[in-house]
């Protein structure tokens, strides 16, 4: 390996900054999974019968499913009996009514993560729901949102307060039998966020959820459900972190988005789960199902993701373009370093007439990591006038990493216009030398080149998070330059 490559590798070997553990009393159920665990979770959540029935159906079905093996990732089999399926900070047994009731240590944790839970969040104009291990601990700005008719609350609260909406929409985009991890989630999910934007309302602020895994040997299984009624708009962001641990932890979430006529949902993710150490020990298995249903005409769903964390990422935020003239978008930056693996991409299912989709995927691999883009563009019979544009670019840093592209296309309408562009480039000695010859130090040059590479995606993020994403990228690429 050349000296230059060594330098690049040293340079990307930055430190994970969210690896601390919060010492807090938790109510964690013993590891293991059977029907009684499913019943226990439902009982702890005081759920109505339909929820319990749904969970039990999911659990029964899950037991019949084989673990999926098609993704381009490698890991030892997961022992689902070793995981604890529920962990909550003790004080949350009676869910806190306001921030004052939240354990100060928890607030401190979110402070460390830079999440503005207090009212000063008003400055940022962001309403935050925070999920710690299995439960949601605080939602800010609930009152202000309620004035606009917006519901933004923990999932378990929605179960109590808005059961009719849940019964109507839960599982309507990702049915429990959809896939192995979604099915497991349906059986054991403990909390998450619920958003409802009524007809004609433009949500007055960005909504945001932060997820944090704290307890050892627990899995995190949250669900997010966002419903945007006719003509409404919402922009939503989720962020994720976890402590550093030697063993792997499972995160299997489900996100369902529903956009009715003329509605728009923008969903952005900044995923920074603990990626494991430089030798590939530990880290989060991030196996997530995200799907949006453009159910109404002229609706629009846009996914933006910046994936820098997790030992393994396996997710395909997708759009079902059911309504006529509906639009689906997917903008992704996936960064892998050391021994991280990512298999990520999207599915765009064109069903309505004159539907359009755009896919921009940027993969960055460093160290011995591997990034795969996997995408499906499907145009069903009757989806006349469908258009898709796909661009997948891969950037390699050093000479021991890998990038793969697996595009699938199934087109059943002859007038569909499908474009696919793909490039693979190395963050080359040429580009670095060029910048350095102009006087820009190597570390700054790498940041500049990587940020340039990701620009098309970053510009899709809400402003304040675009800055956060750039910083995050700089952190994951930070290190001593030789």
């Amino acid at each position: 390996m050349s000296k230059q490559n060594q330098e690049i590798e040293d340079f990307v070997g930055g430190q994970y900054k969210h690896g601390f553990v919060t010492d807090i009393q938790s109510d964690t159920i013993p590891p293991g999974l059977d029907e009684s665990v499913v019943r226990l979770i439902s009982k702890k959540k005081k759920e109505p019968q339909f929820m319990l029935d749904w969970r039990l159906q999911a659990y029964a079905h899950w037991q019949t499913m084989p673990t999926p093996a098609w993704a381009h990732v490698h890991y030892p089999p997961i022992d689902f009996q070793e995981i604890s399926y529920f962990s909550a900070p003790k004080s949350a047994d009676d869910a806190p009514r306001s921030l004052d009731e939240v354990d100060p240590k928890l607030l401190e944790t979110y402070e460390k993560l830079g999440i503005p839970l207090h009212e000063r969040a008003r400055l940022a104009g962001v309403a935050v729901d925070a999920v710690f291990d299995s439960v949601s601990v605080a939602t800010t700005f609930k009152a202000k949102l309620a004035e606009a008719g917006v519901i933004f609350c923990p999932f378990s609260e929605a179960v109590q307060e808005h059961p009719a909406l849940l019964e109507q929409y839960l599982g309507s985009v990702v049915p429990y039998a959809d896939n192995f991890y979604a099915c497991l989630n349906s059986a054991v999910f403990s909390d998450g966020s619920f958003v409802f934007i009524p007809k004609g309302v433009r949500c007055p602020m960005e909504l945001s959820t932060y997820f944090r895994i704290n307890e050892a040997k627990t899995g995190q299984f949250e669900r997010t459900l966002i419903i945007a009624e006719e003509g409404s708009h919402v922009s939503y962001l989720e962020g994720c972190t976890a402590p550093m641990r030697d063993e792997n932890q499972l995160h299997a979430a489900v996100v369902e988005l529903i956009a009715l006529d003329d509605a728009q949902i923008k969903y952005a993710t900044v995923q920074n789960w603990y990626p494991g150490d430089a030798e590939g020990r530990g880290g989060i298995f991030n196996f997530v199902t995200k799907r949006g249903d453009c159910r109404g005409n002229n609706s629009r769903i846009s996914w933006t993701q910046v994936e820098t964390g997790s030992a393994i990422t396996w997710k395909y935020p997708s759009c079902i373009l059911r309504g006529d003239n509906s639009i689906g978008e997917f903008y992704s930056v996936a960064v892998t370093n050391n021994f991280q693996q990512a298999d990520t991409g999207t599915k765009m299912i064109h069903i309505g007439k004159n539907t359009r989709s755009t896919i921009i995927s940027k993969g960055i691999s460093a160290g011995r990591a591997s990034t795969a883009y996997r995408g499906l563009v499907k145009v069903l019979p009757g989806a006349t006038g469908a258009r898709n544009f796909t661009q997948c670019d891969s950037l390699l840093m050093g000479d021991r990493c890998a990038a793969h592209t697996f595009p699938y296309m199934e087109v059943k309408e002859p007038d569909a216009q499908i474009e696919h562009e793909a490039t693979t480039s190395k963050i080359g000695e040429d580009e670095l030398f060029y910048c350095r010859q102009r006087g820009i130090e190597e570390e700054d040059a790498v940041n500049m080149i990587v940020n340039g590479f990701c620009k098309e995606v970053f510009k899709e993020l809400p402003m304040e998070f675009a800055v956060e994403a750039q910083n995050l990228l700089a952190v994951s690429l930070e290190g001593a330059v030789g």
Binding site: Y434, Q437, G439, G452, F453
Partner: protein
């Protein structure tokens, strides 16, 4: 030539890649205020010389390169740049998504930082660059484009010279900046270089053809053949080469 005015002093420089020697015992002195042209056939080592001066990794290098009195061979590329050494690349790279102005401002401010000067803010910088762009006849749309992305060959070369006039180096090495230019672009590039002539500054033009020297009159011309300076002289040497080609020099070098 005053001895104490030597800006660049190359002494017995040998360069190889693996077992393949490229430059052998090359010596050259360039004084402040001078323009030198280095000519030679393809494969004679001209571009290697430019890359080694700028600090490109991957070569085995021996000998000495003194610039402003310091041996710079162990300096990183950016340390050389901060001291005012500039290379106009033969093949400027494209950096998608990175704005031209952003790169150039970062470069200028990095060099100002080394000199202990305050960084220019966006407004001050724009004032500087807009004036220089006029000189290089570069359209304002350039400001919002990515570094060299989608530029024609001529635009890339003009961009290199623009960077040079903004950064105002002490020593500028231009590696085949004239190749691939039509006559109008060549004139623009030459006028850019000519405005840079200064008693404090030296310019080294690496070129294959005499053509550029019609517009930029060099003080000295050197011919590189087989990794050595085969001959040095005044501007008339360039004309002689134009007439006779390089083969006679190569024969001479082989029999030497």
């Amino acid at each position: 030539m005053r001895k104490n005015n030597i800006l660049l002093d190359i002494n017995k420089l040998s360069v190889s890649i693996g077992d393949k020697p490229i430059l052998r015992d090359l010596s050259l002195q360039v004084a402040a205020g001078e323009v030198h042209a280095i000519m030679g056939p393809n494969g004679s080592g001209k571009s290697t010389l430019a890359q080694v001066l700028a600090g490109r990794a991957g070569y085995e290098v021996s000998g000495e390169v003194r610039y402003l009195g310091e041996d710079i061979l162990d300096f990183s590329p950016e340390e050389r740049a901060w001291r005012g050494l500039f290379l106009a690349f033969q093949y400027p790279v494209e950096i998608p998504g990175v704005n031209n102005v952003y790169l150039l401002k970062a470069a200028l401010n990095a060099q100002r930082k080394y000199r202990g000067e305050a960084p220019l803010d966006a407004f001050e910088f724009l004032t500087v660059i807009k004036e220089k762009m006029k000189l290089m006849r570069i359209d304002e749309s350039f400001l919002n484009r990515s570094v060299n992305a989608g530029f024609s060959g001529g635009e890339k070369k003009r961009n290199e010279i623009l960077q040079m006039v903004v950064l105002e180096p002490r020593l500028a090495v231009l590696d085949e900046t004239d190749s691939g230019l039509d006559i109008d672009a060549l004139k623009v590039v030459a006028s850019g270089v000519n405005t840079m002539r200064d008693p404090e500054r030296a310019i080294v033009l690496i070129t294959h053809y005499q053509r550029l020297l019609d517009y930029i009159k060099p003080d000295k011309v050197h011919v590189l053949a087989d990794g050595r300076i085969a001959r040095s002289g005044g501007p008339e040497l360039a004309l002689e080469l134009e007439e006779k080609g390089y083969d006679w020099l190569r024969d001479e070098a082989a029999s030497a």
